[in-house]
């Protein structure tokens, strides 16, 4: 295998390394070619290989979930429910939600990029519990297998929210298997979070103090807290659904003496923080990317780091804002509304700090940066429309309509997936040792951004006009906006297929990447691309702040 690095490569404009710190030629053996064969992958405890196993899993689930989205948007082109039957349509949006939320968005950045990068970023040999890490992937795959079993055996139609008493008493679909699939995969989430927390606490390189950690690591630390503390609640909640459904324990169905609204409290106690499991890691990616492509320390580093923790903590106290009209007390609504406005503040702070980082920076427009800028734009819209939903009197009108659908897609797709794609591109040279075709990647990023907005912006208007979500058929006056949305979805789908093609292509044909193609800071860029199994030849020692793009003595405070 050749280890050519040098000029003459296409791909991102690679500035000559300024002081040319004699970059050692990459080692012949790296984590990818150290062993071959199925067994070497399925029994690996290398966090980098496990990250790639997760990459395969979540990519499969993403395109599966995406296929359902395609069918949903096709059905909604016409007002009548004419493409599929109502039962099928209900299963489509349920499977779309379950797969995208539990099997793509929640594991995507933490289990792929976090798994790969956290040990590298903190100068560690691996995660604290490598075998637990592998176990978490198997658990994820078992959960995914349950879900695919549900799919082929007829599906489930409760909505990803499993609201009672519909799910416990009335649905005739595979609620138990679907619930168990989510229940099982939750454990993979808990194990990943646990692993990250211990790793970040115990395995930082000498000199790498907490406030020298990359913001990506801070974001994952906050995310891990939510995973460990929140996931058991959804687990037990889904288990009670299974128990009521199979043994008729009266927990949620009023006919059995239960309270259906109790389920919503328990469900959202996890599922609202779960939104932060999706978005916080994406924010971590954006921080890394913005710093690298403006060659500047993130403005207000400490504030950005602490805002992640603030979001994680306050995020646990806002679940009731999903339930303003559900029959919970008016005063409970008041408290949840207040706290929901509070949680908006740390998110706003992050946006302002990213923006300020660009000021007097050296900004380049490589693909990861395009995704990061796209993230800031879409997340801003998603966050601002969250204020509409947190406002009690306004929420009454827009909740359970397409306004909500648009809002959370701006956060989850516009935010989390833009962050994920930006991160995949940013660290692709590190992960694979290859450069992706920059021009194609920029085109795809622009297509994703345009397609996304055309898909989801009309849905805000649709929602305010009153179109309820989860409607198979709808009144004719909503058709124009629905057609726009479906047209956008086809553009968005193209935008997602492109990276799939050129990234796979680049694994074989892409030019070889140097250790640090972006001239980025961070320990992960100080080892070879791809890294050796042990990550570093020698134990790195950290003697500077994060994002020290310029000599520290020049630092100033405005």
């Amino acid at each position: 295998m050749t280890t050519q690095i040098g000029p003459g490569e296409s791909g991102p404009p690679r500035p000559p390394v300024p002081p040319a710190p004699a970059e050692a030629p990459p080692p012949r053996v790296n984590y990818l070619n150290v062993a071959y064969g199925v067994k070497s992958w399925l029994l690996t405890t290398d966090h980098k290989r496990i990250a790639l196993l997760y990459l395969a899993g979540v990519t499969l689930m993403f395109f599966l979930g995406g296929a359902f989205a395609v069918l949903i948007r096709l059905e909604l082109v016409t007002p009548a429910g004419d493409l599929v039957q109502s039962e099928t349509y209900n299963k489509l949006f349920t499977m779309h939600g379950i797969i995208m939320v539990f099997f793509f968005l929640i594991p995507s950045i933490p289990a792929v990029l976090g798994n790969f990068l956290i040990p590298l970023m903190i100068g560690a040999r691996d995660l604290a519990f490598p075998r637990l890490n592998l176990a978490s992937w198997y658990i994820y795959m078992i959960g995914a297998a349950f879900t695919i079993f549900v799919l082929v055996s007829g599906g489930v139609d409760t909505g990803w929210t499993f609201y009672t008493p519909y799910s416990t008493t009335y649905s005739n679909t595979h609620v138990v298997a679907a619930g168990l699939g989510v229940f099982i995969t939750g454990f993979s989430s808990i194990l990943t979070g646990l692993n990250f927390i211990v790793t970040i606490h115990r395995m930082r390189a000498p000199g790498l103090t907490w406030f020298r950690l990359p913001l990506f690591v801070w974001a994952h630390y906050a995310t891990s807290l939510i995973m460990v503390l929140g996931t058991p609640v959804i687990a037990i909640t889904l288990l009670t659904v299974v128990l009521e459904r199979t043994l008729h324990l009266g927990i949620y169905d009023p006919r059995l003496g239960g309270d259906p609204v109790l389920f919503q409290h328990l469900f959202w106690f996890y599922s609202h923080p779960a939104v932060y499991i999706m978005i916080l890691p994406a924010m971590g990616v954006v921080s890394e990317v913005v710093a690298c492509f403006s060659r500047k320390r993130i403005f207000g580093y400490e504030v950005v780091a602490m805002s992640s923790l603030a979001i994680a903590v306050i995020g646990f106290l806002v679940w009731g804002h999903h339930m303003f009209i559900s029959g919970q007390s008016t005063y409970a609504g008041l408290v949840f509304s207040f706290l929901s406005f509070l949680v908006a503040i740390p998110s706003a702070i992050k946006v302002f700090n990213w923006t300020s980082t660009l000021y007097k920076g050296s900004v380049s427009y490589d693909t990861p940066m395009l995704y990061a800028i796209g993230f800031v734009g879409l997340f801003t819209i998603g966050g601002l429309t969250g204020l509409f939903l947190a406002a009690l009197g306004l929420d009454v009108h827009v909740t359970d309509t397409y306004f909500v659908v648009a809002h959370f897609h701006y956060i989850m797709v516009g935010g989390a997936i833009m962050g994920y794609l930006g991160g995949i591109h940013f660290w692709w040279p590190k992960i694979t040792g290859r450069l992706y075709p920059e021009m194609w990647a920029r085109v795809a990023a622009v297509i994703v951004f345009a397609g996304f907005n055309l898909t989801f912006f009309p849905q805000f208007i649709l929602g305010y006009l009153g179109m309820p979500r989860r409607y198979h058929a709808y009144p004719e006056e909503f058709q124009v906006l629905n057609v726009m949305s479906s047209a956008g979805a086809s553009i968005l789908g193209l935008g997602y297929l492109l990276p799939m093609i050129y990234l796979v292509w680049s694994m074989r044909y892409g030019p070889r990447a140097s250790a640090n193609p972006w001239q980025a800071k961070g320990l992960e860029w100080q080892t070879a691309s791809p890294p050796i199994t042990e990550n570093f030849e020698r134990q790195p020692v950290v003697s500077e702040e994060a994002y020290a793009y310029a000599p520290e003595e020049e630092a100033r405070v405005v």
């Binding site: 109502s86 039962e87 259906p260 060659r295 500047k296 380049s364 429309t385 124009v480 310029a550």
Partner: protein, 340 residues
């Protein structure tokens, strides 16, 4: 399919203008911050674009003043939105005392409405313009949500309990009624219309649809058929509490607690009598859960309401009183829900 694209649903209730005003304010705030961020990002990205590959900009660590600025200003703005939203929400929650009562049952996949005068409709609701209408809602099965976009009104309809909401229509016309909480296969078919009529036309409609049996009268018949009357006797000699003059009044429970005998309490006392026993009585009443439909329960509640209590008569009640005899049935608008 219209050629013009409306951005708002028709405003047809007293709440619509208030919700729209808050919505517009939020749009202004969003446009301001959205444009601000977009302008800053784009202008910084262009102005400070990388001009040479080995550029090393001087770091800026941060600024406490700026951090405080963009913490406190947004905090102030969201607190305004919070208070405004809460004010509208509480107005939505406070049912005006003199409202016309209508009972609604959600059932997969239809809406059944009952007027105090006995008219029953399916997937339709006729109401007079300018009169506050109080809805008491429940569900026979799963959670539904009663949503009328033109009124900016939505309320989850939860099985096993009564929820209330209200509206006052301001514009005649026919408006969408949607179920907004996913309820199974035909969720998107659980739709209907709300028809807002001039008071006179509404009187005509009421007369045309009259069955001769008011809700309370239907409840009275049930009260006898179900043999409630053997224990709940008017002479205070029964094994159950006397129900005359109870509705809307505080009741002392065996636990010493005091509750108001409202719709929800009456309903609970029928389906789950042991839950809150009135002081001085034994928990001897059997449950009627599953024996009485939610619609019948509402009739029983209306009957007990008619037996006494101060807050039952209002303009709504007056409106719903037996209509002038001159109204001919032929003049009645659609009322296909009759008698179901």
């Amino acid at each position: 399919m219209g050629t013009e694209l409306p951005l708002f649903p028709v405003p047809a209730s007293t709440m619509a203008g208030r919700v729209d005003a808050l919505y517009l304010f939020l749009i202004l705030v969003s446009v301001f911050f959205g444009v601000l961020i977009a302008t800053l990002v784009v202008s910084f990205a262009i102005r400070f674009r990388r001009r040479s590959p080995d550029e090393r900009p001087r770091p800026i660590h941060g600024s406490t003043v700026l951090e405080l600025t963009w913490t406190l200003i947004p905090l102030g703005i969201v607190m305004v939105i919070f208070l405004w939203g809460a004010e509208v929400f509480f107005a939505m929650a406070r049912v005006p005392p003199a409202s016309m009562d209508i009972y609604v049952v959600g059932k997969r996949w239809m809406w059944k409405t009952q007027h105090m005068t006995g008219q029953r409709e399916i997937n339709e609701l006729h109401v007079p313009v300018g009169v506050p209408v109080k809805l008491t809602l429940t569900s026979e099965d799963v959670i539904h949500s009663f949503f009328v976009p033109a009124f900016r009104m939505k309320k989850d309809v939860v099985p096993g309990r009564y929820v209330t909401t209200w509206f006052q229509a301001t514009r005649t016309g026919t408006y969408h009624l949607f179920c907004a909480e996913y309820c199974g296969t035909k969720h998107s078919g659980m739709i209907g219309t709300v028809t807002v009529m001039e008071p006179a036309a509404f009187q005509t409609w009421l007369a045309g649809g009259a069955t001769g049996t008011s809700l309370a009268a239907a409840g009275e018949r049930l009260f006898q058929d179900l043999a409630c009357i053997t224990c709940h006797r008017a002479d205070s000699e029964g094994r159950g509490p006397k129900l005359e003059g109870v509705f809307g009044h505080p009741v002392t429970l065996a636990s010493g607690e005091r509750v108001t005998a409202d719709e929800a309490y009456i309903r609970e006392s029928i389906v789950n009598p042991a839950a809150r026993i009135v002081a001085g009585f034994q928990p001897v009443m059997p449950t009627y859960q599953g024996l009485v439909s939610e619609e019948s329960l509402m009739q029983l509640v209306a009957y007990i309401q008619s037996l006494g209590g101060p807050a039952t008569a209002g303009p709504g009640a007056a409106l719903a009183s037996p209509a002038p005899a001159i109204a001919s049935p032929a003049a009645a608008p659609r009322s296909r829900g009759q008698g179901r």
